[in-house]
Amino acid sequence: MSNWIDICSVNDLQADSGICALVEEQQIAIFYMPKAKAIYAINNYDPFGKVHVLSRGLLGDIKEEPMVCSPLYKQHYSLITGVCFEDETVKNTIYAIRIENDRVEISLEG
């Protein structure tokens, strides 16, 4: 069973945009799309810029696959698989995330 960790309230999220959470010393970017009732979690690390900034990237989709665009060098990462659209050999970590009773919870186990 997944071990869900409480992060914050739904009201702390930014609609159609990102925030960052610190979970067991890992930086995790959380994106929330209220219209699609979707929430995603991806490691905040930008493998090209080598800094922790993805939560501050622009959100969108490419061919209907939700993605975040790095604010530094504009690579796109799938929020479903973590794979970089520009270089498929680069894959960022995706985490399980859910909203339970208006609380946001993350699991660090694959």
């Binding site: 925030i19 959470a21 622009l58 665009c69």
Partner: protein, 846 residues
Amino acid sequence: MSKKQTLVVIGNGMVGHNFLENLVASNIKDNYEIVTFCEEVRPAYDRVHLTEFFSGKSAEDLTMVTEGFFEDNNIKIHLGDKAIAIDTRNKFVTSAKGAAISYDKLVLATGSYPFVPPVSGHDRKNCFVYRTIEDLEAMTDAAKSAKVGAVIGGGLLGLEAAKALQDLNLKTNVVQFSPRLMSAQLDDGGAGMLAQKIEALGVSVLTGKNTTKIIDGDECHHKLVFADGTELETDIVLFSTGIRPRDEIARSSGIEVGARGGIVIDDHCKTSDPDIYAIGECAVWKEQTFGLVAPGYSMGRTVVADLAGQLVPFEGADMSTKLKLNGVDVASIGDAHAKTKGSLVYTYQNGADEIYKRLVVSSDKKKLLGAVLVGDASGYGTLLQYSLNNIDLPEHPDALILPGRSDESVGLGPDALPASAQICSCFDVTKGQICSAVESGCSSMASLKAETKAATGCGGCSALLKSVLDSELEKSGIAVSTDICEHFAHTRRDLYNIIMVEDIKTFDTLLEKHGNGGSGCEICKQAVGSILASYWNDYILKQEHLSLQDTNDTFLANMQKDGTYSVVPRMTGGEVTPDGLIAVGQVAKKYKLYTKITGGQRVDLFGARVDQLPLIWEELIAAGFESGHAYGKSLRTVKSCVGSTWCRFGVDDSVGLAIELENRYKGLRSPHKIKFAVSGCTRECAEAQSKDIGVIATEGGWNLYVCGNGGMKPRHADLFATNLDKETLIKYIDRVLTFYVRSADRLQRTSVWMENMEGGLDYLKSVVIDDRLGICSSLENQMQHVVNNYQCEWKTTIADESKLKRFRTFINSDKTDDNILFVEERGQIRPANEQERKHAAIAEEV
């Protein structure tokens, strides 16, 4: 199916390997057991791009063999083993390592060897040839203890080799026997221009030098002694004096060779033995040898066809070439020397730009026979098509080489080419094949290249390929897309008009009414965010606009490479009080920021963490500063010189006007950043002519310049109107800027916007000054709306508790990002580099 026959290929160079690729791609591949001999220790690699070995490419980068090629196709390769004899009666090949392979069919692709003239001393240490990767490795080794290098031979390959010596940091000389460089391809004029250009790159060119011997040097390792009595000292000698066919295996096996060497072949590439073929540089066809890969590839295709029982005879090859030598474009087509009887010559020589062009045409001026291009080979594709396809020349053929004789269309549109026209000569791809690939669904260069291989060899045909693609797409009704992105089938200008006409105020409404589905992306979101801000001038961090902004706009600061931000308070016109400077300094000191003066006459504070931004701005605002909009695609600064207030030469108050203009247009969002400058006299100390909007004071009033910029592609601004009073000046600027904001593409600067506008500057003047479109009052009103609704975005943000939440580093912790690390340099901070980070990490563990 009967038992498989054995096909043996001797030689795995570029031509031998290309033959194997064609063979296994054909429908006869299952008829043969395939065996190949490769004398070198590595299978086929790209000899054409050998020079790139010195600019960092490895042997692996140069390989022509796709992974698993031999295994997947069941080809047995004898690597590092040389075939030494053919028993044509009993039909078997023996190798240096003792292998004996029976064959049914044999293909010789033994290539050529570098010819070294028999001058005395040619075999001294550190005398090389330029053919294999091993040659290059030996040269590289020798270069370590050398200072000077000389290439003997100023042909195509010799000049390539000279580049290699330069890359090895040697003082490089090219020694040419003939009076001109590239004597096979160029005439005297072209060769002279080429020599001039190559010398400018630091290579000494010595022509008409017959090397008689190589002896011990006085200062260098060698001394070259020439027939005219002169000498040249050098540490390394590189022979590039032509190639000779490698025909020894044919010679010793009784196969016919030509009088001047080379294995004699017929139109089907068959040698004197009907079961043996020869292809590439080792073959001689109608007493001609071919020292380029494309004819060799073409011979290989002839052999595959012959094996399959089809007739695709080899018909000779066009020896036209285009290449870049040390960055110098050189091209030669057909009869460059005008040897054809009655041929006429046109020559264009531009000494200033070092361009030389020569056309050789038939006596009736109808057909192109040959051409030479040095310094600018952009016309090569078009000229080659005229020559290869026998297309009638325009009335004035010299229009093809003269710059901008605009009454004639000089380009050869792709529609003028017949279907049989060869577009890609490396892989023999015709226009017809490209058209059918487009018809069957290839709609991008990438898919077209993958499907046809066109433009994947030397790449010289890619511009032509693109024009055929565009033309075919257009004909089949597939518009070349100008859509901003996959979410909107509109240009930025369309979207602007839609927003204006339909009074649309949010991205969501626009997406719902005019989008293609999906939620948007960084391209359309930012573009629409910018349009909405230009038109309505709402607070950009309003809930409905926030998600449209890129990180700089979202956090109202400029993200730097380490994820921290820089902060720029506005200093209108570059004016700041001592108290203001002290306040900025105190903030910088308190938050330990790196400070630097910008090009726009203000102060930039670097190294602020996202959570520090509101605190920093609270203090800056208290000291009377407001946002400098350095983060936005918006008006940045109005730079000024000190003007008539202080300057002995000043004609008018440039600082006063700069401040007034900056205050008027600050906060204006636009397709790209906008910069202004105002100079107080024609000495132009504010550099106003390099700005989007430049103003210069004259005795008669203000002169207005528009659409200049610095940056990657600098452009001087154009003089738009002279001797204006301030009121008219501002009216014109209002109109120009609003018209730009309305009609430019996304991320298009004012310069490109105007250059792409039909009618250019004159048209812009007619719209702005003569009100040709009748929109001037609407343009002014819109600008007035923006001016009236200005707000300092930082002031609004600080006052709104709910907006500040976003500036926390972590939503669930008060910690800050401990990956941000600074070190000190020249008394200030800077981001730590990777090594310094590692060091810090180790120190922490200890």
